[in-house]
Structure formats: structure tokens, C-alpha cells
Symmetry: C2
Subunit: 424 residues, 2 copies
């Protein structure tokens, strides 16, 4: 496999918990954080904090990062997705520095915005145009507004348990949300096209859009791939009823298919939301769509101070270039498949059944038939041994992960199982 | 005046329209843009496009940028505010590069997040805590959610014509918005505390928050400073009625007072939204607030893929450091005052009355008693001569602007008035 860039290989580390493993510096910094930041660490990063685990990184390289106590980790979270080519990728970062030398936010747009839009239109099958933001929420929020403007309808259909960011319509029941924010949002179960058809029959011509990720990757539950024919029925129902089909490819984008994850599942959305991996960790999101929505998209005012900076756009072009230089999708998924089967085997030797779900490049792990505390205990033991996993979220492979990383991870997982107290 | 960093001085340029002035490359790129981006250039950058004007920059330095045709401009838009120390400020950008060498988006937060939160709490009078986002919309959206969660009330009071980003509650009447988005939003006229009191009497204990900028700086209209006693009455009404007082300091922040623009107007908000200038063009926004709201702030889930990157936070610390090294506020406002009085004088010699409103560091210009087309024609003639102004928005001074820039600008303005056809 022709991997364009080779990162420095990590040192061999002992599999057993190092005598020196401690997170004292993380904990001290976390205490300081709590005095000046609500919750200490907020948002989804706050949700990943574990008592005995690391809280702050000090540096990162390739598929690895180091915490502030100096512990090194093979990272299977990839910053929750953005890192896809390896941390501090030299080609991407040089593209960023070159653009930054020209300017950051400037009073006019940068030519690189046009180049990136052209690139996305060329690469992403469903894209005739592109708009840019910073976070996935910017793209999903804009997508539903365009759908509402295009159809003159208000209702949004989404999949129960799906996550499309923190825009008001996504916040039903959360602190700070009001009922009106999501009064026009309907939910259906994943893989249930019949339920979608029933909703259409019930709500007539009031549904503006259907939005879902290419496959179901909720938190705290197994990922679920689309059933045979599911997306084709969803697409047909949308077409027959004038409903805009929005693919939220923020999380899975560029780990399933470089031309849009829909290509792997045989359907064509009207708009696709991209974010996370699009610029290998530089802040960018994008909404792309079909010509039929272009005029409407130009009429929906949506903007942000930081939407126009060229450097993250240059990072995106470099990232997309690098991903095309070899079979990046194949590599990440092959590594993920090897990790999955290895972990399943290791678990079995300790009497556990490990379930790996989702696409192999984004595996969600669950120990079956044990209390959730046992699953988290195993995750914690892996983290202590230098393999960074989370207990409640899908993981991510990158092209910087190596066979050696996988092999070491399996040894760590084995030792971690040995350290977990077996449930009665 | 001890200015820490001196940028390369621009070359002396002729005041008359250069024979070579053309925007052919901008126009060609704009045509390409239109084929792949709805509207060609979207959002507020799209709104600033003028037929004969530049559309894309090629590089920037200090208070100047160059368009893709090679035309140089003294820039009084400062990227709509973010640029405050000069483009490509060496100290800020080195802080960015140093943090970027450690990592971009990584699976854990960066220690610099804690350092920046501590710094804001130390520097900003009303701040006991800080949270971070990318754009002003992230901060204003989070602020109103915290206010709703803290009060258990739904209604938001804002000032008519004020701008607080593109969150759903701000979008009344715009394409893609639905009535429910802003059904709980009430508006009052600027500087009308009586109207706010009437709203309170009318709506009882249903008002969660009052949100406004420190002074009124709408688009397409003169800026208005607070009347004597206005903010004190607003603050007293909020306190007496359990209404959360939110200051949207995204646009004016760090050009009025380094400890929060409220300090210049003698009041204390419960939360302040910062963005734009906080990191000299690197993508960051912040919400800071009082201890009384800290617990609630920790309960409102708000997040984004790109919220945790250290580099823009390092940029913010460096920017705040630089702004404290000398009297930055005094310098920007003194330069703005000189520009204002000079432009007023120049206008008078051509028989025009030029109105300059707002704080001097953020002047809004309007030619009185002439059609708007005449005002725009004068702006266009200034742009052609290398002074970048907009006809419908306040401008921004930076610490990188020089007395020479001001002097040259006045000469350009004079020539521009001479080139404008006098209205009958």
C-alpha cells in the first residue's frame, strides 16, 4: 500500500499499566478549569472525561497524542472524527501555513474558497454547489433552512437518536430549549421506511425535509447500517412527495466513500452536510447540494465572522488530495476490520462477547451481556495502557494508524481484560 | 505612542484613479464562483460585492490588503472586525504556529483553553467564567439558551435593527425561517427604556433576557450611542424583574474597553458575547458570564467539532496581550476621530455634509441630504483609489492604521468627491 506520508513510529511500550501512569497534571489542570469554565470541560469533550483518565493533551502526531502528564496514546477517537490523515499532517499543515501567510479573516473572500467549491463539485457526486461554515451545526442548520425555503413547508423528519448538531430544532428536551424550537420536528425509527411513509400520509404536504446520517451511529448504542433497500425507499418517498432529502455526512464523511457516503449505499440526496474530517482538524464544514436548490440556497442568508478564512479551505483541498493519493477508504476500513476481529477474539479468550458495529473505519464497541460498568472498566483499563477509546461513542480510524498500532492495541486490550473484575 | 509592532509602510500611491485600476481578475474569479457557490459569494461577504469593486483578496499585511488584480487598499473594514492589531500580526501568528505544532483538533482539550478562560476572567470585569465557540452566533445562541434555562422563561427582548447572528430566533422574516423560530422574541427601539418597561408590564414574568450591543450599530443606518442613563435603567429593570442582561459585544468588543464595552457605559451585564477581534482573525468566539449563571451554563449542552482547537485560543491570549502593551483603545479611537473630522472637512469643501456616527474606532459614514446612490458612488470612488470602505456598514480602525494612512485616505476622499457626479 502506497502511503504518501509516514509518521514517526511510536516507541514500543509495555502492555501492562506502566508504574508511572498517572494523570495528576490533567487533574490539577481540570481543577483550575472548573473554576473558570462551567463544568470544567464543556460540550462533547466534557462528556468524555473519566475520573482516572487524561483530560488535556500536550501534543499530537500521526495516530498518537500525548497527555499533559506525558502519557502516550494510540488514538481511536481522532478528535471525534476530524483527524483522518494523522495529526499534524505535513502536507496539510504546509498548505495551511502558506494560506495563513496571505491572510486569515480578511475583508474579501479568498480565491481558495472558489477552488474548494470547484473541487467538491468535481469530487462529490451529488454536489453542484457548495457553501461553507465552521461546524457541522452550521451545515445542518443551513440545510434545513434551505429545505424549508425551497418547499414552503415547515416540518423536519429526522431519525430518533440521530445527532445533527446543536441548532434549536435539534434540542428537544435539553436545557435551554423551548418547545417551539422543535415543534415542527418529527422523528422516525432508523431503518423504518414504513414509518416514514405513515408520517407522510399523516402530515400531507407539510414535510420540508428528511435528514439522516448515511447509517445510524447514535451515542450509547450500537451503530446500524441501512437495511437492504432502505435508502432507495426513502429516496423514492422523498421524490414522490416533494420532500428534500438531506444527508448528514458530517461524522461519516470521507471514511465511507470519497464522493459522499451515499455512494456506498446507492442513493442520491439533494444536499450533503460535511464537516469533521474534511480538513483534517482545521475548522471547516460545508454544505453541498443539487442545482435545483441553488437559487434558494442563494436566498437564505446564513453567515459567520469566520466562515471565509482561506486556511481551513486550503487544508480541505490538501486533505482531499491526500485521500485520493492511495486507497484511503480501503486502508481505514481494512485496519478497522482487523481491529474489530482482533478485539472480538481477544474478548472471547477472556469469556466476553464484544460487539463491533458500524463501518469498520468507525467502529462502535460494546461488551454484551455484562453491566455497562464492566464495559467502561475495560475501556478505562485500555486508556491507562495507552490506547485511547471511549465507552459510549463510535471510534475512528485514520490513514496514519498502522498494523503495528493494531497489534499493540490487541495486546493492550488483552491485558485490560485481565485487569477488569469479572461480573458475577 | 509605543506601538509594539511596526508593519511595513505602504508605498505612496497616486490619489487619482490609477490608469491600471481594474478588477478583471476579481470578476473572472467571481464568474467561476457563481457556477459553484450559490450567489457566488455568500453571507455578509456577498452583501459587500460591488460591480466595479474587488471581490477577492490575494494577500494582506498590517492595515492593508491586496486584491487578486494587485490593487492595494488601506482597509477600514478589518474583515468586518476581527483584524484589530493588523493582518498577519507576527506575535499572534507565531503563537498560532506554536500551538499548531502541538495539534489542531485533538481528542482532548488543550491547556490553552484553561489559560484563556483564566485570562478572560481576570481581564473582563463581568466575567467569572468563559465558554468558547467559533462565531458570534455560537455565543449569542448559547447566551439566550442559558438565560432561558436559568429563568424557566421563554421570551427574548432585543433591539429592533440589532444583529445577533443567524440563530433561528434572530431570523424573523428571512428566507428559511419559520414563524415559530422567533415567536418568543420581542423587540424594542434602541434607547427606549420606557418601551422596555412597558414590555415587562405587559408580559409579566415571561421575559428571560434582554440582549443588545453596547451601542446601536445597525446596517444601513447611523450608529447611536446610549443616551445618558439608558443602560443604568435597563440594568435596573432587569435586576428588578429577574431578567438576564446579555451584552452582545461581538462587534464592538476590544475597540471600546478591554474589560468589556459595558465598562465605557457604566453598567454590568450578566453575560457578554465576544467574537470578531478577540483573536485578530483566528476563528474564536467566547461567552463569559457571572457566577450566578455558572451552574446553569454547565447544564446547557452546546458544542461543536471545532470548538476545542488550541491555536485560535493561543491567538486570543496573544491578541489580548498585545492590546494591553499600549493604549490600543486610545490609539484606535484617536485615529478614528482624526479620520472622522478629516472626512467631514473634506466633504464640506465639496458641498457635502458627511455624518460620522458610532465610536470613533468603528465609524459609520453617511452623506446627508443626497440620494443613497450618491453616497455609494463616493464609496466606490474611494475604493477605486485604494481606500476600502463599505456604503452600508460601520467601519473599523485597527492599531496597525497609521497617521500616514489617515492622511492618504483624506486625499483619496477628496479626489473621490471630485469624481462623483453632484446630485441635482
Amino acid at each position: 500500500m502506497n502511503v504518501a506520508v509516514t509518521f514517526a513510529r511510536h516507541r514500543n511500550r509495555p502492555v501492562e499499566t506502566m508504574k508511572t501512569y498517572c494523570v495528576d497534571k490533567s487533574n490539577a489542570l481540570y481543577a483550575r478549569a472548573k473554576s473558570v469554565i462551567p463544568g470544567g470541560i464543556f460540550g462533547h469533550y466534557g462528556g468524555s472525561v473519566r475520573d482516572g483518565g487524561p483530560k488535556f493533551f500536550s501534543r499530537s502526531e500521526g495516530a498518537h497524542f500525548w497527555d499533559v502528564d506525558g502519557n502516550e496514546y494510540i488514538d481511536y477517537m481522532c478528535a471525534f472524527g476530524p483527524m483522518i490523515l494523522g495529526y499534524n499532517h505535513p502536507v496539510v499543515d504546509e498548505a495551511v501555513r502558506a494560506q495563513q501567510r496571505l491572510g486569515h479573516a480578511v475583508s474579501l473572500a479568498s480565491p481558495v474558497m472558489v477552488e474548494l467549491a470547484e473541487r467538491l463539485v468535481e469530487q462529490v457526486t451529488a454536489a453542484d454547489w457548495a457553501l461553507f461554515g465552521k461546524n457541522g451545526t452550521d451545515a445542518t442548520g443551513l440545510a434545513v433552512m434551505i429545505a424549508r425555503a425551497a418547499t414552503g413547508r415547515e416540518k423536519i423528519v429526522r431519525v430518533a437518536g440521530g445527532y445533527h448538531g446543536v441548532a434549536a430544532w435539534m434540542r428537544a428536551g435539553s436545557a435551554g430549549a423551548i418547545p417551539a424550537d422543535s415543534a415542527a420536528v418529527l422523528t422516525v425509527a432508523w431503518n423504518d421506511a414504513d414509518a416514514f411513509e405513515r408520517l407522510i400520509n399523516e402530515h400531507g404536504n407539510t414535510i420540508a425535509c428528511f435528514i439522516a446520517s448515511p447509517y445510524h451511529h447514535p451515542a450509547l448504542a450500537d451503530s446500524e447500517l441501512p437495511a437492504n433497500g432502505y435508502w432507495q425507499r426513502i429516496e423514492a418517498l422523498c421524490r414522490a412527495n416533494g420532500i428534500v432529502l438531506i444527508l448528514d455526512d458530517v461524522r461519516a464523511g470521507f471514511r465511507v466513500h470519497l464522493a459522499g457516503s451515499n455512494r456506498a449505499f446507492g442513493f442520491t440526496p439533494d444536499m450533503i452536510c460535511f464537516g469533521k474530517a474534511i480538513a483534517n482538524g482545521h475548522p471547516l464544514s460545508a454544505l453541498v447540494g443539487a442545482d435545483a436548490l441553488k437559487q434558494t440556497a442563494s436566498e437564505v442568508f446564513y453567515t459567520g465572522t469566520q466562515f471565509y478564512s482561506g486556511a481551513p479551505m486550503a487544508a480541505a483541498i490538501a486533505t482531499l488530495d491526500e485521500l485520493r493519493k492511495f486507497d484511503a477508504i480501503g486502508r481505514m476500513n481494512a485496519l478497522g476490520a482487523k481491529l474489530n476481529s482482533g478485539l472480538i477474539d481477544v474478548a472471547k479468550t477472556h469469556g466476553y462477547e464484544l460487539i463491533a458495529s458500524g463501518v469498520p473505519a468507525m467502529p462502535y464497541y460494546r461488551l454484551a451481556n455484562v453491566p455497562r460498568t464492566t464495559h467502561f472498566a475495560w475501556i478505562d483499563e485500555c486508556v491507562k495502557r495507552g490506547v485511547y477509546l471511549l465507552g459510549y461513542h463510535n471510534h475512528f480510524l485514520s490513514t496514519a494508524h498502522t498494523e503495528a498500532d493494531i497489534k499493540h492495541t490487541l495486546n493492550v486490550a488483552d491485558a485490560a481484560f485481565g485487569a477488569v473484575e469479572k461480573p458475577a
